[in-house]
């Protein structure tokens, strides 16, 4: 990182300071480390929210900065979750199985232990064999590698295919949506090797920390999530500043022009797409141990669209906007759907927010798109001392794939 990077981007420091304060505050109020004003489950919710903020800034970079409306980043998030979930589930089942087998007169062979684990894990889908994709599940290191490698490779291959054939705009969005759908449908099958629609469960139990209370584990994951968000923010702030940021935003606004300047646009898109996919995978790997369960429904295309909604509401093209959007909407959403919001009695009809929240969200999202394209983040412009200039360019390319008249008009 070049010197002066932070001084040129004061908002990064502000953000890191705010994140640090928030982390400190939660630590002081948490059950394990402080007064206990915040319940363990709420600390988990906050930790999960931080992970969602991390994937939201990844989404912001790929969409708000680079103009690729990916409807597939939640798939990478899910893959990260599955990768870590496989180890968590394997290691924990191994501990349980070894314990129960220790009672036998004759000690079990290694194969017997593995078979027993297989029966435990895959009993629900009527199998006991370990599928090939579980080959590394006994190694934490290798599975952590998978968290990064699988989303990265998938993004690399998919992106290479898509960008190479110059699919852009809504076409690309639909293609990424199709990819996500294919992945979730695949995972829904029982013979996918990942327990079909049962998904992976019991992920909140961390092997080796059986005796540590969940309150402690939750705050530890909260810290890890905060750290990951901070580092992710720094990384993306670095990527989107300077010349790289300039080129990426150039690609968003006029891809053909960047190409005629001699930049290989496809490589840049691929770089951004893959990098954000990897970060999404990491966010997922931190999220799901806090959620405790992952199943294919989490990967469904709708999740990725919600991600876009968060970023749009928070404000595209600025990293803190994405964070605000993700935190605001996801917390609000769990408040409304969790029955936290009071019902509104209209006399003839009582609005129950568990039923009406999605209607409200959908319509307010339309309203944000129409009336406040800058999102919540736009408010910061109003209070900022140095008003950032009105953007004149458009968000993203104008038409679909392969425009014949690119740049000539």
């Amino acid at each position: 990182m070049k010197p002066g990077f932070l001084s040129q981007n004061p908002s990064v420091l502000w953000f890191l300071a705010a994140l640090g304060l928030f982390t400190l505050g939660v630590t002081v109020l948490a059950e394990a480390t402080g007064t206990g004003a915040l319940s363990t489950s709420f600390v988990k919710t906050l930790g999960k929210t931080l992970c969602l903020c991390l994937i939201a800034i990844a989404m912001d970079v790929v969409w708000g900065y680079c103009g690729i409306l990916s409807l597939g980043h939640f798939a990478f998030f899910g893959i990260g979750g599955y990768a870590i979930g496989m180890w968590l589930m394997y290691a924990r089942t191994e501990a349980i199985v070894s314990e129960s087998m220790a009672a036998a007169v004759i000690p079990p062979t290694d194969q017997e232990v593995i078979d027993a684990i297989g029966t435990q894990i895959f009993g629900v889908v009527g199998s006991s064999e370990f599928p090939v994709i579980w080959a590394f599940s006994d190694s934490l290191f290798l599975q952590l590698l998978m968290v990064v490698l699988i989303p990265g490779l998938l993004a690399l291959v998919f992106g290479w295919l898509a960008f190479r054939s110059r699919v852009t705009g809504v076409y690309l969005s639909i293609l990424t949506q199709a990819m996500t759908l294919a992945l979730s449908l695949y995972l829904f099958q029982n013979d996918s090797g990942l327990r079909g629609n049962n998904g992976l469960s019991g992920l909140q139990n961390i092997p080796g920390f059986e005796d540590t209370p969940q309150s402690m584990i939750s705050i530890a994951f909260f810290w890890a999530s905060a750290l990951a968000l901070g580092l992710g923010y720094l990384l993306f702030a670095f990527v989107t500043s300077g010349k790289m940021g300039s080129v990426i935003r150039g690609i968003r606004d006029d891809e053909a022009r960047v190409r005629f300047l001699g930049y290989h646009v496809e490589s840049y898109k691929l770089f951004v797409f893959t990098l954000t996919a990897v970060i999404a995978g990491i966010a997922g790997a931190l999220y799901y141990p806090q959620a405790g369960i992952i199943n294919p429904a989490e990967i469904a295309p709708i999740a990725s669209i919600y991600l876009a909604v968060w970023v749009a509401i928070g404000g595209r093209g600025r990293l803190y906007g994405a964070v605000i959007g993700a935190a605001f909407v996801s917390l609000l959403s769990s408040w409304f759907t969790g029955g936290g919001a009071p019902n509104v009695n209209l006399g003839v009809y009582t609005i129950q927010w568990t039923d009406w929240w999605l209607v409200l969200l959908g319509l307010s999202f339309v309203a944000v798109t129409l009336f406040a394209p800058k999102g919540i983040g736009g408010l910061f412009d109003a209070i900022a001392v140095r008003r950032t200039p009105e953007r004149v360019g458009d968000y993203g390319p104008d038409k679909g794939a392969l425009r014949q008249e690119e740049g000539t008009e």
């Binding site: 409306l69 062979t109 898509a162 699919v167 705009g169 639909i174 449908l185």
Partner: protein, 647 residues
């Protein structure tokens, strides 16, 4: 038994002349004990006599006897049918069916034939019924034979063919007799001839008969047995695994059972004491090799049976042959059956291909209906409408609501189609005016805004109609299926949807090519600025186009609702496929959408055919294929060089 049949036939032919010679009651009284306390062994005499009597009430009597409706009066041993009359019974004469008095229940005894007797009665009944004057009964009798074919049905059935007056039923009888003959005829020649006669019939029951003849049993022996009708000899390692081969040997008592790993484990566990097994500490027994060694020690001491070594097992496997032998001993028959079945299977495959094509066509027409509205809006306005699926849903719910008010299904569908169009047209126009108009040239934001509308509409539908599926019932004349043969069948609803798709294809092509609106739409598509300067109002065109696209979605919703469930999520089920259809087909082109729908429909059915157990996998592979397809045809199938399609 055969004798009985001949007698029945004689009786049937001459029935009127001797019908009144006797009455049932007197025949029954001559066998009073056997009727009142029937047993499977003795009932035959009664049945024979009844058959010989040729009385018209015999079949009715047999049926009632079997159904435990016959009562005997304790006092004089006479038989009656009864009807309940309060706690008493009204007695009916078994010959005339007339009321002859009442009695209290304990004076009579119900005759309850046991299962074996009932079976014998039923069999005799079939013979009567096959020649019954009532066609419904004859049909029922034929159905009964078809359900459970046995050897003894062959003769009565064959005998009942010639005098069958109804041509259709006669054909059925002949066919059934052919199937029975293939399995049960007395001579090899007769069976082979019957089998050959079956070879141009692809129906499921004929295939079942042939497969029955071709049933094999897997066996092993030191050498191929003499006189056995061998279907195939099996090669170990190729047709069957070594484990399977050895298991067969064990089952046939040709080899001792092998001691498995779990046997060893239980033997060791049983012989463990003080933490040791045969002086070996149990702690070291955590590998299969260590366990086997200790087991052998135990075996040497005679505590447990000796293990068969791998080499010995191998030798045993190699010194035996493994084969599938036909149960049917006569090779001429199995050969004929095999030949016939092969021929039939080829024809079945052809029919299946035809059936698959029909299925694919119907799926394609559904995708076409679902996607064409999207294609119109996308093509003309460059707008991706994520709420398109919800318009489909809205159309389906419109149909549902109409059916709540108009109970006549035909009338309600006729009302629902235009109403669904009107409702979704209005919704589309409203959405265009309120939202989309402000977002032109920002396609990604349009995509997201329409997505917002989509989740709001979906939840709204959930709040109004609940989460459970709502029925949209098709009129009775659309029930059932058009059955071409046992393999090819397509339901009328799917045909109707196909026709609807064709109508819409024609309608849209007509609108775009022959009407003023179509001309203006094409003008706006190609050059909005120029069109505006020619006095066309692009706003109006966009609004109408969007309305049209949404309206078609509404009609598609009614059509889809007729054969699938109506739920708030039904739109979401079709939206991705609709996008795929549009993208694969090529944007802004009706023919492209048609080509896309056809390709996706055929592709999905084709993949499902390869992997029939798993529609999820089929969809996964289809999407992957589409992603690859986009690589080679980024602009879709149509939308190639040349403006051949013109719209």
């Amino acid at each position: 038994m055969f004798r009985t049949i001949l007698i029945i036939l004689a009786v049937c032919l001459a029935a009127p002349s001797i019908a009144s010679a006797q009455d049932l009651q007197s025949i029954l009284q001559s066998h009073q004990k056997l009727v009142a306390k029937p047993s499977a062994k003795t009932v035959g005499t009664v049945l024979d006599d009844l058959a010989a009597s040729g009385l018209s009430g015999t079949a009715d009597f047999l049926e009632r006897w079997r159904n435990k409706e016959l009562w005997v009066r304790t006092e004089d041993g006479l038989f009656f049918y009864t009807t309940a009359d309060g706690s008493d019974l009204t007695l009916l004469d078994i010959d005339t069916g007339e009321t002859v008095g009442t009695a209290i229940k304990k004076d009579l005894k119900q005759i309850r034939p046991n299962g074996g007797v009932r079976k014998a009665i039923a069999s005799a009944l079939v013979q009567f019924q096959l020649s019954d004057p009532d066609i419904a009964r004859r049909t029922a009798a034929v159905d009964a034979i078809a359900r459970a074919m046995t050897a003894d049905q062959l003769a009565p059935l064959q005998a009942a063919i010639d005098n069958e007056p109804d041509a259709a039923l006669k054909a059925r009888k002949t066919r059934l007799a052919g199937m029975l003959a293939a399995s049960f005829a007395d001579t090899t020649e007769a069976r082979v001839a019957a089998i050959q006669a079956l070879s141009d019939d692809i129906s499921v029951d004929v295939r079942a008969v042939l497969n029955q003849i071709l049933t094999t049993k897997r066996a092993t022996a030191a050498a191929l047995p003499e006189g056995a009708n061998i279907a195939a000899q099996l090669t170990v390692g190729q047709d069957i695994s070594e484990t399977e081969a050895y298991a067969m040997l064990v089952d046939a008592d040709l080899a001792p059972a092998r001691v498995s790993a779990s046997d060893i484990l239980s033997a060791l566990t049983a012989n463990a004491s003080d933490g040791r097994v045969a002086d070996t500490p149990v702690g070291t027994l955590n590998t299969l090799e260590a366990r086997a060694k200790v087991y052998d020690t135990l075996a040497a001491a005679g505590t447990v049976p000796t293990r068969i070594t791998d080499a010995e097992a191998q030798r045993l496997i190699e010194t035996h042959v493994y084969f599938d032998a036909y149960i049917e001993k006569d090779p001429a028959i199995t050969q004929a059956a095999r030949l016939a079945l092969d021929g039939i299977e080829t024809r079945v495959a052809v029919s299946q291909a035809a059936d698959l094509t029909l299925d694919a066509l119907s799926l394609a027409s559904i995708y076409f209906l679902a996607a064409i509205g999207l294609a119109v809006t996308f093509g003309v306005m460059g707008v991706i409408n994520m709420a398109h699926g919800e318009f489909i849903m809205m159309g389906a719910y419109t149909g549902y609501v109409v059916q709540l008010f108009i109970p006549n299904y035909t009338a309600s569908i006729i009302v629902a189609l235009p109403l669904a169009f009107a409702v979704t047209f209005a919704a589309g126009v409203a959405m265009e005016r309120l939202v989309i108009r402000w977002l032109y040239h920002r396609p990604l934001e349009t995509l997201l805004a329409t997505f917002g509308i989509s989740i709001a509409l979906q939840q709204l539908a959930k709040n109004i109609f609940g989460t459970q599926a709502r029925p949209l019932t098709s009129p009775a004349w659309l029930d059932g299926a058009w059955v071409i043969n046992d393999v090819i069948a397509i339901s009328y609803i799917r045909i109707a949807i196909f026709v609807l798709a064709l109508i819409f294809l024609a309608l849209i092509v007509w609108i775009l090519r022959k009407t003023r609106l179509g001309l203006e739409v094409r003008a706006v598509t190609q050059n909005p600025g120029m069109a505006a300067s020619m006095g066309i109002n692009p706003d109006r065109i966009n609004m109408l186009t969007f309305g049209l696209g949404s309206g078609i979605a509404g009609i598609a919703g009614v059509a889809i609702g007729l054969y699938a469930k109506v739920t708030s999520e039904m739109g979401a089920d079709y939206i991705v496929q609709s996008f795929m259809t549009v993208v694969v087909g090529g944007v802004g082109n009706v023919w492209g959408t048609l080509a896309g729908a056809t390709m996706i429909g055929f592709l999905q059915k084709g993949i499902e055919w390869f992997n029939p157990s798993n529609t999820l996998a089929a969809q996964t592979y289809m999407i992957l294929f589409i992603i690859l397809f986009i690589q080679f045809r980024p602009k879709g199938i149509v939308a190639l060089k040349g403006r051949a399609a013109g719209d």
